[in-house]
C-alpha cells in the first residue's frame, strides 16, 4: 500500500514539474473560444461578400433582432461551456432560453411558402463548414476538464449558432421550409455531433 502511494507520489511530482496546467482560468478559455467563433463569422461574411459577391440581406427590423439574439445566445453558450459553478448554471439557463428564442426568430424571418430546390443545399453546406472549426476547437477545449452533458450541449449550441448567424445575415432565400431544412437541421446536426464527440473523447483532467 505504502509502496503504491510512494510510486503515485513520484509520478505526481514528475507531472507537476513537467506540466504547466492544461486548463487555464475559464476567462481565458472563454476569450479564446470567442475569438475563434468571431473570426469564423468575420471570415465567412468576407467570403460571402467579396468572393461570392453575396451582399448582406436586408431584413425588417425584427430580422435584426434575430441576429442580435443569435449572437447573444452564442456568447452565453460559450461562457456557460467553460465557466464554473453558479455562473455556469446561470449562463446555461440564459443561453438555452435565448437560443430557443433566437432560432424561433430566425425561422420567423424566413416565414412564408417556398419550394425547396437542390441548390438550397448550399446553405446547409455553409452551416456545416462554418460551424466545423468552432465546434472542433470547443470540443478540444472541453476535453481539458470533466465531461458534463449540459456543458457539452452549451458548447455545441454555440458552434451551431455561429453558422446560423452567418446564414441569418447572408441567405437571400425565403420560406420557412428552406430555413428548417437547410438552416436549423444542419445546426442541430452540428450540436449532436459536438456532444457525441465530447462524450466519446478522453478527458485530460477531471476537474469540475
Amino acid at each position: 500500500m505504502s509502496e503504491d502511494m510512494d510510486a503515485m507520489r513520484r509520478v505526481l511530482m514528475v507531472e507537476a514539474a513537467r506540466s504547466s496546467p492544461v486548463a487555464r482560468p475559464w476567462r481565458r478559455d472563454a476569450l479564446a473560444l470567442l475569438v475563434v467563433h468571431g473570426a469564423m463569422v468575420v471570415a465567412a461574411l468576407a467570403v460571402a461578400l467579396w468572393v461570392l459577391d453575396h451582399p448582406p440581406t436586408l431584413r425588417p427590423a425584427w430580422g435584426s433582432a434575430s441576429t442580435v439574439l443569435l449572437a447573444t445566445a452564442t456568447l452565453a453558450g460559450l461562457i456557460s461551456a467553460v465557466s464554473l459553478g453558479r455562473l455556469a448554471r446561470q449562463f446555461r439557463t440564459t443561453s438555452f432560453a435565448v437560443g430557443a428564442l433566437a432560432v424561433s426568430a430566425h425561422l420567423a424571418v424566413f416565414w412564408g411558402p417556398s419550394a425547396p430546390l437542390l441548390h438550397d443545399a448550399d446553405c446547409a453546406l455553409a452551416e456545416l463548414a462554418i460551424a466545423a472549426i468552432p465546434a472542433t476547437i470547443t470540443v478540444l477545449t472541453l476535453r481539458r476538464f470533466a465531461y458534463r452533458f449540459p456543458r457539452a450541449v452549451s458548447g455545441g449550441m454555440a458552434a451551431a449558432l455561429t453558422g446560423l448567424l452567418v446564414l441569418d445575415l447572408t441567405c437571400p432565400a425565403n420560406g420557412l421550409l428552406h430555413a428548417v431544412l437547410f438552416h436549423a437541421l444542419p445546426a442541430a446536426l452540428v450540436l449532436v455531433a459536438a456532444v457525441a464527440a465530447r462524450a466519446r473523447g478522453v478527458s485530460y483532467s477531471h476537474v469540475p
Binding site: 500500500m1 503504491d4 502511494m5 503515485m8 507520489r9 509520478v11 505526481l12 511530482m13 507531472e15 507537476a16 514539474a17 506540466s19 496546467p21 492544461v22 486548463a23 487555464r24 482560468p25 475559464w26 464554473l84 459553478g85 481539458r144 476538464f145 470533466a146 465531461y147 458534463r148 478527458s203 485530460y204 483532467s205 477531471h206 476537474v207 469540475p208
Partner: protein
C-alpha cells in the same frame, strides 16, 4: 504568487492555492492528507483495489493538470472528491458496467446477488449489498455515511441539487436495508 505558508498546519485551501500558484511542496502535503482517504472511498464504491488505485492516481493527476481551475474561496475537500467522482463516473461510462461484484469477480451463472450476500459475514455482506446499488445511490451513501459530507456538499460533488442528493441517499439506505434483510431471512 501566493505568499501563503505551505507548512503542515496550513489549511487545504491555502495549500491548493499555493500549489496552483507554483509552490510544488504543497502538492505533497495535499497528497498525504487525501490520497488514502480517496482510495478508501473509491474502494468502498467499487470493491476493486486496482481500480481504486487507478482512480486515485487519475484524481491527483487531474488536480495537477487542472490546477488553474481551482478558484479562490472554493472548499478543497468537496472539490477534490468531485474530481474523484468525475474520474470514477468517466471510467464507469467507458466500461459500461454498473454492477460490480464484491470480490471483483463476475457472478456465476444462475447465482443471484442475494445468494452471494447470504454467504458472507456482516461487513462483507454490507459491502456486497453496497455494490448492488446504482452508482449514484452508492456514491450518495458512501459520501454521506462514511465520508461525512453534508447533502449540500454531495450535491456539489455529484452535480445535482441538494434534494436530489437526499433522495439518492434515502433510496440507497432503503435498498441496502432490503438487501440485508433478505440476506438475514435466508
Amino acid at each position: 504568487m501566493s505568499e501563503t505558508c505551505v507548512g503542515a498546519a496550513a489549511s487545504d485551501e491555502a495549500l491548493m492555492a499555493a500549489f496552483r500558484d507554483g509552490r510544488q511542496a504543497a502538492l505533497s502535503l495535499l497528497f498525504d492528507r487525501y490520497a488514502s482517504r480517496i482510495q478508501a472511498a473509491i474502494l468502498r464504491l467499487t470493491s476493486d483495489g486496482a481500480l481504486a488505485r487507478d482512480i486515485t492516481q487519475t484524481t491527483f493527476l487531474s488536480l495537477v493538470r487542472g490546477r488553474a481551475r481551482y478558484a479562490d474561496g472554493c472548499r478543497f475537500r468537496p472539490w477534490v472528491y468531485a474530481i474523484a467522482m468525475n474520474a470514477l463516473r468517466d471510467h464507469m461510462r467507458r466500461r459500461k458496467r454498473e454492477v460490480l461484484v464484491a470480490d471483483g469477480g463476475a457472478l456465476l451463472e444462475g447465482e443471484s446477488h442475494v445468494d452471494r450476500i447470504r454467504d458472507l459475514g456482516l461487513e462483507a455482506r454490507l459491502r456486497a449489498a453496497l455494490v448492488q446499488l446504482p452508482l449514484e445511490q452508492r456514491q450518495a451513501v458512501v459520501l454521506h455515511h462514511v465520508e461525512g459530507f453534508a447533502f449540500a456538499e454531495i450535491a456539489e460533488i455529484a452535480h445535482c441539487s441538494r434534494s436530489a442528493a437526499k433522495v439518492r441517499a434515502h433510496r440507497g439506505y432503503r435498498r441496502l436495508r432490503e438487501l440485508l434483510e433478505v440476506g438475514e431471512e435466508a
